[in-house]
Structure formats: structure tokens, C-alpha cells
């Protein structure tokens, strides 16, 4: 197998706040292969976004600090140790990002054209005229009608879905090797969500880019991702191919996430929810973080020692856990 485009090893990011040290990301490792789609799933606040922001150098420091680890691009440059100058040459050219809220992610004071062609002017030193031409082309590729005129519009003249299309066009305009999509559909209408995901897949295949898709929606991941990384409380709890994580899930958290997807077959039945809340990351977690969750019963084996990762197949790894999920009836009774 060819070398991965991106190798993340033992990434640890903490935020030193007044209320203590928040261990947002602890010892996260994964590889990203060329042209593959990797899904990172988990609840809000489990470290998905911080993982990616750390690699991009977008963590505000202070209070954030990358304590350990490496994120090596092409087996050459460690993103975590690169200078600001080196990072500026990588960001937007080799690695691009799409963000959650297209309403606030575009600068309202600048025309779409100005923002869209900025990566071309910065990284490919194109003239404004040539860049605008490429920009119009890019807008057409993401399905924006009358691109020649609308490229000169301001962001507020676009709808939410259209703005996310602009974001995708802007991220893909330099044909990056890696696209990081941070919950790209969360802020959008359900009807638009599918279109945007399809668009990401289409642009990814056209460019041959690798994609890291951050989401808390397993349903989104299922149709799109080759491999999946499940995170909980800042740590990876399960990773494998989409098939392995969906059909042979072993970690109770992964199973609970799957049960929480509302399916069409259960009309009239109550929906499954995971009881309790994720743990407070500003306090050290000695053992299995999932065992600390209210309503989850553990066998006690990993209460005080961190559970190790176990390999199940060439691609399937899972963190040991002896937690048991409560049944639907028990969850409902709790509520």
C-alpha cells in the first residue's frame, strides 16, 4: 500500500483555562490514505474538531496547547512543528477546510469573487483575471447558476446551501490533497444536506482528494466514508472500515451511536438515546471514559487503568471496554 498522505500520531491537545486543564484530544492516532474518505464521528465536545484544528494550526494558543504528537504530511513535513510561513503555504493549497456554519464562515464585507479566488492568488500566483475565470468555473462545478454574474455578489445575497457550495468551491479550487469538512451539513436544511454531501463526494472524486469528514451523524458517514474513526471524550474508541464499524461494531459507544440513528422501520416506537452526558474533560479520566457516564454499567475492570486498543482485523481496532448498554426500556424509565 502506498504511503498515507497524512499520518497523525499520539496527538494530544489541551486547553489551559482558568477552570483547569481541558484534555480535549488525548493520544489520537490515525492514517489518511490518498483519495479516501475518513469519517470522524462522536458527540459534540468529544474532540473531533479540535483534532483537525490542531493539524491545521488553527487552535488559538493560548489557551490551547498541542502537548504531544505529530501530524506528518507526505511523510515529510510535521504540521504540528511547521512554522507559520510553512503552514500558510500548506493551508488552502495542500489541505483545505469547510466549516459548519456557511452563514458565518464567509466574510460579509468582501465579495464572493474576492474570497473565492484568494487561494489562487496566494498559492498559484494567478492574475486577478485568470483567477476570476477559474473562480467562475469552480462555481459552475458546484452547481451555482449564472456564475459569471453571481461571483461578484456578496455572501448575504446567497442562501445557506449556496454559501456552503461556495465554501466547497473555495476549498477545492486549488485541488488540495486533503479536504477537511467540519460538520458541513449540520447548519443546513435537511433537503440541502444530501445535495451538499453528494457534492463533496463528487468534487472529491473529480480531484482525487482525501477527505476527513467530521460529523455527529452516523447516517451521513455511512453513505460516504471508506473508513470511520469513532471518538469519545477526546480518545479514539473504535476505528475500521465503514463495513467493520457498521456491521461488526464492538465498542459499546459505537453500538449506542448506531442505535440512536432513527430508522424508518420503527414508526411509533420511541427513539433510542444514550443515557447521561460525556464526561467533564477538565478532570483527569483514569480509566474507561464511557464507564463514567451516568446510566452506563461497567464491569469495573477498566475503572482505574486506561483500556488499551485491541486489533480485531488488519483495519479494525477497538478500545477495550466492559461497559454494558442499558436496554431501551431502561433508558426510557430514566427519562
Amino acid at each position: 500500500m502506498a504511503q498515507p498522505v497524512l499520518q497523525v500520531q499520539n496527538l494530544t491537545t489541551r486547553f489551559h483555562t482558568r477552570n483547569g486543564v481541558v484534555r480535549a484530544v488525548e493520544d489520537v492516532s490515525f492514517d489518511l490514505n490518498q483519495g479516501e474518505v475518513l469519517g470522524i464521528v462522536g458527540e459534540s465536545g468529544c474532540g473531533k474538531s479540535v483534532t483537525c484544528y490542531s493539524m491545521m494550526g488553527l487552535i488559538p494558543q493560548p489557551p490551547g496547547r498541542i502537548e504531544a504528537g505529530s501530524a506528518v504530511l507526505d511523510g515529510q513535513i510535521d504540521l504540528l512543528k511547521a512554522s507559520e510561513r510553512e503552514m500558510n503555504a500548506i493551508r488552502g493549497k495542500r489541505i483545505s477546510m469547510i466549516f459548519q456554519d456557511p452563514m458565518t464562515s464567509l466574510n460579509p464585507y468582501l465579495r464572493i469573487s474576492t474570497q473565492l479566488i484568494e487561494p489562487l492568488q496566494l498559492h498559484e500566483k494567478l492574475s486577478k483575471k485568470a483567477a476570476i475565470e477559474r473562480g467562475v468555473e469552480a462555481l459552475k462545478e458546484v452547481g451555482i447558476p449564472q456564475a459569471e454574474e453571481r461571483i461578484h455578489f456578496y455572501p448575504h445575497e446567497f442562501s445557506g446551501g449556496m454559501r456552503q457550495r461556495v465554501m466547497i468551491a473555495m476549498a477545492m479550487i486549488t485541488q488540495p490533497d486533503i479536504l477537511i469538512a467540519d460538520e458541513p451539513t449540520t447548519a443546513l436544511d435537511v433537503t440541502v444536506q444530501a445535495q451538499i454531501l453528494e457534492l463533496i463526494r463528487q468534487r472529491q472524486q473529480a480531484n482525487g482528494s482525501a477527505v476527513i469528514l467530521i460529523t455527529h451523524d452516523l447516517g451521513v458517514v455511512a453513505g460516504l466514508c471508506d473508513r470511520i474513526l469513532v471518538m469519545y471524550a477526546g480518545r479514539v474508541v473504535e476505528t475500521g472500515t465503514a463495513h467493520e464499524v457498521f456491521k461488526k461494531a464492538r465498542h459499546p459507544y459505537t453500538i449506542a451511536l448506531q442505535r440512536s440513528i432513527p430508522s424508518l422501520g420503527t414508526k411509533g416506537k420511541p427513539l433510542y438515546t444514550i443515557p447521561g452526558l460525556p464526561p467533564d474533560l477538565s478532570k483527569p479520566i483514569p480509566g474507561d471514559a464511557f464507564a463514567l457516564r451516568k446510566g452506563i454499567v461497567s464491569g469495573g475492570k477498566w475503572d482505574h487503568t486506561p483500556p488499551p486498543m485491541v486489533q480485531l482485523s488488519e483495519t479494525h481496532w477497538v478500545r477495550e471496554s466492559d461497559c454494558e448498554l442499558p436496554s431501551l426500556e431502561e433508558v426510557l424509565r430514566e427519562c
Binding site: 491545521m56 494550526g57 488553527l58 507559520e84 503552514m87 500558510n88 503555504a89 500548506i90 493551508r91 488552502g92 493549497k93 483545505s96 477546510m97 466549516f99 456554519d101 458565518t104 464562515s105 464567509l106 466574510n107 460579509p108 464585507y109 468582501l110 465579495r111 474570497q115 484568494e118 487561494p119 496566494l122 498559492h123 456578496y154 448575504h156 465554501m167 473555495m170
Partner: protein, 306 residues
């Protein structure tokens, strides 16, 4: 856009008319008249004077006469000076305008960069030191700062004249006195505006595109960050010019501010009205200018007619 400006100018005329009317009757409500001095003059002399200026007629007749001469551009005679109001304004307004312009220039040249630097390097010494100084500057009234500057640079260092308005170097101290106070306010507003923008999501987007730091500040942040400063410029412009009478008194500058205050004390009706008209026109025009600049800076604001 031109429709909008035309509409606003018409509005300004209406505002001016209201102000003239209200002021006209208000000054006449004040006790006394232009010729009541500490040493009273013989009654027959006063009667002749009142008759000469038409002040013995009913108020509405006086008002009609005033407005009709005003429409011909005649602001009337001054009751306390040998010059008429047109002459007084023509001599004093340029002085105040020049002083105000220098003061604003100083305020912007100091306030903007200091505010931007403080926002970019927030919570460091580059933020704390200038911002504490700005706080002092805001709290320091001009009648304290002016004499202090005159004492330091005029009396002790002997660099500038303590008062007067003759050569270019006479502009320095009064302009600094007004300018420094406004610079302090502008610095704080700039810092606030810049901070507001710097924490927005689209700045993160720009960083993710690999935009270098200085481009982020100048291209992505400044436009939005300076909007609060622009809104402040309307009142500031008016304040700098109309509020300069304290400074004009301290430095003995023959400006409009001094005439404004003394005319009110002397019940010099026409001079009060003349200065009020000039100030009102200035303030409404300054606000119109601010509105236009705001539209140019912020694409989400549109002119009312479009």
C-alpha cells in the same frame, strides 16, 4: 444613491428650519435683551436701539423679517459687535474648522493604529499600556489637558506660544488638546471593533486558506472593524468643531466656539442663530457623510431608495 443624498439634503433643510424656528423663539424667552448690560443705558437710547433693530415689533413679525432676510443669505446685524453676523461667521468659522480638522487628523492618526495594534496583540503589554493611557485620556477634560500642555510645551520648554493664533506652530497645542482626547476614544472603539471581527468564523476561514497574518488584518478585518469608528465620526466631527470653545478660550483662538458662548451670554439673538445654523448644518452634513461611508464599507446596508 444620488436620490438618497438629495432626499437627505432636503431633510437637512427641514431640520435647519425647525432649529431656526425653535432657537428664534427660545432666545427671546431668555430674560433680558441684547442691550441689558450691567450698567443700564438711558431708556430713550434703548428704545431707539430696539426700534432701529425692529425688536419692538411682535415676535412673529420679527420672525417673518428674519426668515425672509435669511432666505436672501443675510444673517442680520450683530447687536453687540460692529461687524454683522455674516462677517463674524466668515472670519471665525474657518478658524474653528481648521482647528477641528487638525484635531481630527491627530485623533485618527493616533487612535486608529493604537487601537488596531492593541486588538491584534490583545492581552499583552502592547494592549494594556496604550489602553490604560487611553482610559486616562478619556477621563481627562480638555480644560485640564490644555493648560497642562501649555505649561509643559509653552512655559517650561518654550517650544510653542502659550496662546494666540498666528503662525502654523500655534496650531499644535490646541489641536493636540482636542485631538488627544478623541484619539483615546477612537483607540478604544477601534480596539473593540477589531476584536469583534477577529473572533468571527470568517477569520478562521481566511486562516484555513493560508492567508498571511497582515493580509488578514488589512483585507479581512479592517473593513468590518472600523465600522464602529465610522459611526462615531459623525458625533466626533460635530463635537470637535462645536465643542472646541473651551480650547478656543484657553488658547485665545478667534474661533466660532467663543462667539457661540459669548453671544448666548449677551443675548445677541442674531449671532446665536447664525452660529446655531452653522453648527446644525455641520452636524447633519457630518452624519450624512458617515451614512455614505458606512454604505460603502458594509455591503449589507443599502440606501433607502434601492
Amino acid at each position: 444613491m444620488f436620490k438618497f443624498i438629495l432626499y437627505r439634503l432636503l431633510q437637512t433643510l427641514l431640520v435647519l428650519w425647525v432649529i431656526v424656528t425653535v432657537t428664534f423663539f427660545l432666545v427671546r424667552l431668555a430674560p433680558g435683551d441684547p442691550f441689558s448690560a450691567e450698567r443700564s443705558m438711558p431708556s430713550h437710547v434703548k428704545e431707539r436701539l430696539m426700534q432701529h433693530y425692529g425688536l419692538d415689533q411682535p415676535a412673529w413679525v420679527q420672525y417673518g423679517n428674519y426668515v425672509s432676510s435669511l432666505l436672501q443669505g443675510d444673517l442680520g446685524p450683530s447687536y453687540t459687535q460692529s461687524r454683522n453676523v455674516n462677517q463674524i461667521l466668515a472670519q471665525t468659522f474657518p478658524v474653528s474648522l481648521e482647528l477641528g480638522a487638525w484635531a481630527l487628523l491627530i485623533a485618527l492618526c493616533i487612535g486608529l493604529p493604537v487601537g488596531v495594534v492593541a486588538a491584534v496583540y490583545r492581552n499583552t503589554r502592547l494592549d494594556y499600556v496604550p489602553m490604560s493611557m487611553a482610559m486616562v485620556g478619556i477621563c481627562l477634560p480638555t480644560f485640564v489637558l490644555g493648560p497642562l500642555l501649555a505649561l509643559f510645551f509653552g512655559v517650561w520648554l518654550n517650544w510653542f506660544n502659550v496662546s494666540g493664533w498666528f503662525g502654523p506652530h500655534d496650531r499644535v497645542l490646541p489641536a493636540l488638546t482636542i485631538g488627544l482626547v478623541y484619539a483615546a476614544v477612537i483607540a478604544r472603539i477601534t480596539r473593540g471593533g477589531m476584536l469583534e471581527i477577529l473572533t468571527r468564523d470568517f477569520i478562521r476561514t481566511a486562516r484555513a486558506k493560508g492567508v498571511p497574518f497582515h493580509t488578514i488584518i488589512f483585507k479581512h478585518t479592517l473593513r468590518g472593524g472600523l465600522l464602529p469608528v465610522v459611526s462615531y465620526m459623525g458625533p466626533a466631527l460635530a463635537g470637535v468643531i462645536s465643542g472646541s470653545f473651551v480650547v478656543e478660550t484657553i488658547f485665545q483662538i478667534p474661533g466660532l466656539g467663543r462667539e457661540f458662548v459669548s453671544s448666548a451670554f449677551n443675548r445677541d439673538y442674531t449671532l446665536v442663530l447664525g452660529t446655531v445654523i452653522v453648527y446644525a448644518a455641520l452636524i447633519t452634513l457630518a452624519n450624512l457623510l458617515v451614512d455614505i461611508v458606512q454604505v460603502l464599507l458594509n455591503p449589507r446596508i443599502r440606501f433607502e431608495d434601492s
